[in-house]
Symmetry: C2
Subunit: 262 residues, 2 copies
Amino acid sequence: MQETNKLSVLTEPTLAEAAKLIEKAFAKRRTLIIAGACHVHYVGRASSTLEPGERILIIKADGSLLVHRPVGYEPVNWQPSGSIFHVKVNENSLEVHAVRQKPRENVKVTFSNVLVVSALSLNDSGEFLLYASEEDMHKAILLKPALLEEGFKPISYEKKVEPGFVDIYGVDKDGKLVVVEVKRKTAGKEAVLQLARYIDAIKEKANRELRGVLVAPSLGKDVQRLLVTMGLEFKALDPKKCAEVLKKAENSRLEAFFKEKT
Amino acid sequence: MQETNKLSVLTEPTLAEAAKLIEKAFAKRRTLIIAGACHVHYVGRASSTLEPGERILIIKADGSLLVHRPVGYEPVNWQPSGSIFHVKVNENSLEVHAVRQKPRENVKVTFSNVLVVSALSLNDSGEFLLYASEEDMHKAILLKPALLEEGFKPISYEKKVEPGFVDIYGVDKDGKLVVVEVKRKTAGKEAVLQLARYIDAIKEKANRELRGVLVAPSLGKDVQRLLVTMGLEFKALDPKKCAEVLKKAENSRLEAFFKEKT
């Protein structure tokens, strides 16, 4: 066994050796990574069986559990934190049980052979930060127009309107045209004047009521007054919120994966 | 290094040693598990930074990538298959790059220290099988009433109606009462007669039009005729389909996790 304060690693252990290290890791709340030949039974909201094959079982310090096959980014079985674990050695197998109470769920991973067990003490307090570019903010509004306001329907984006391009162009719930200018940072007077120029250019052609909305995380000093004077509106939108919307859309790929697989 | 045909394991390697094994694993399309201190940058639909901490990086045989923190069942970063990988050693760091073309996405994991690297050749052709009990089928219909038919609205389930319990009870899109009897396997004559008894019992009390629908994966021989004679309907529903619906509901916990986290 390779052993330090931070980790214990067993390569091709017997089932009994593996069980001993796994038990110790549970007691110390270490993160466990077990690779080997196993089958998996799950009983909970539905039931599932994963027939024998070689996989990676991960049990984290908080008790969450993942079973990963050698292909695919999604786990084939998983449990959030809150399980109670135990390990059991039979004559020809090693069983890892994870039992949750609410909702009642039960995962049993039965190994016939263990290739490697790593028990790790990991320290991780690093922050996870999401960002969105101005273009990401456009995408997020197109994906979820309610970020601007309920009932908003985008018609086009990056529409050419002399002297440039309108970020997003749509209609509100009352059928009024809406011209949207998006800024990633605090919007200054220049952003207001830019939006006003687009409005003027479009007013010349369109024969409908027209609203101009400046979207940004915040407004600069004295900009509110200019905005009101010019008959324009402001909608506060945090780029981080947009990043979340895009990330969520990304997540739907995870669901799609399950749909295909099952 | 612990090495066999199936695996190579390096415990507390230098960055250069780790890089050598990682490169070899990429060439052989082995599954890689790297634990160590790292930070992560992602640029794609949005951008993200994961500040330094100790994590597990998994790169699978198909090129999918996962970064797992020591807590939580969800990866903090991930990529589906289809990335091109390379590894690079600097003076004080080891960089693993994963680049995807469509959509353009880029993950860079920079290790300042590596605790353990495992490169595994895993064979896994075991099938994943989902099951649903009759109760699971009820739950799935309550969760997604369109499984029965568009516009169906459940009112109650396991409603006591002499001589027993009606599985699901609701109204259809035209406001008609619907009594649903669910079977997990091919439905025989007994199931039809059971449903007919419930219908009779309810008809005595309710003063509305009443439909009886038998839900099962299939109908037994000659059962269709009996069903029609008794004025009842059949809706084919596979328990596996129900298991998928429940599994998908389960998956929404994954999304909820992201919402909380970001």
